[in-house]
């Protein structure tokens, strides 16, 4: 399933990084401590977090995450938005919390 298909199914709203939406999704990771995430998230993961700063974009890029989903409507700052567009890393927002979102991802990915 692609990032775009998953996002459409789960009702996430795209904030930035549209160029990367055709990417295939492989699994999911949840976390907010960037060093921790960096050492554990795997390529292709949907990454659920509340960290919407430019460093989160760097971590998504370095780990080759498929996309970032900002849960509980956490904010994406302007610099992060620009970097996500430039690096084509999709960033979505949802009002649901990380637990609910992870459950929905698990169900959608089967």
């Amino acid at each position: 399933m692609t990032v775009q298909e998953l996002a459409g199914r789960l009702g996430w709203e795209l904030l930035a990084g549209e160029g990367g939406c055709g990417r295939e999704v492989d699994g999911c990771y949840v976390g907010d401590l960037l060093s921790w995430v960096m050492s554990r998230a795997q390529a292709g993961n949907v990454w659920l977090t509340v960290m919407g700063n430019i460093n989160a974009i760097a971590v998504a890029s370095l780990t080759d995450s498929a996309c970032i989903v900002l849960t509980e409507s956490a904010a994406l700052d302007a610099e992060a938005r620009a970097r996500a567009d430039q690096q084509e890393i999709p960033v979505y927002t949802t009002g649901k919390n990380s637990y609910e979102t992870a459950l929905a991802v698990a169900e959608a990915l089967g």
């Binding site: 390529a43 960290m51 780990t63």
Partner: protein, 141 residues
């Protein structure tokens, strides 16, 4: 034999630019068709090192030598040095200030992550003079 020599300035106190050097190295290694596992390890270790330089040392320089056998990275700063390297290497030990923690760093994972992802790590440090990290990553290792 070195395939590529790179040098970067790591800006001090600028979190928005931290990661530029490691992103660029990652990109170049990919272009060279380098082993993907090694690319990931280089990128993570170097980014952690860059963040450390921004948080603790007011920036510095990164030197990267890429050869088919290994990637060797020297991260050189002129910051305060590390008084107790053994302590700094412990997972969870951090001297990062609160504003850094609110950005998602400062979990005491930086040096442990670098150690975990490199095949060789040497730390040369002197209090009041600065710190140099020398890390090596070998493909397939």
């Amino acid at each position: 034999m070195s395939m590529l020599s790179l040098k970067y300035e790591v800006p001090g106190d600028d979190f928005t630019r931290a990661g530029e050097a490691s992103s660029d190295v990652k990109h170049k290694l990919k272009q060279l068709g380098y082993d993907p596992g090694a690319v990931r390890r280089v990128a993570i270790a170097m980014y952690e090192g860059e963040i450390n330089m921004v948080i603790h040392a007011g920036g510095g320089e990164a030197y990267v030598e890429i050869s088919p056998e290994e990637v060797e990275i020297h991260l050189v700063d002129h910051g305060p040095g590390i008084p107790d390297v053994e302590k700094a290497m412990q997972a969870g030990y951090s001297t990062a200030p609160d504003n850094v923690r609110s950005l998602g760093f400062g979990a005491g994972m930086g040096l442990p992550n670098i150690k975990k992802y490199t095949d060789d790590l040497q730390i040369e440090t002197e209090v009041g003079k600065g710190t140099t990290l020398i890390m090596k990553v070998r493909p397939g290792a």
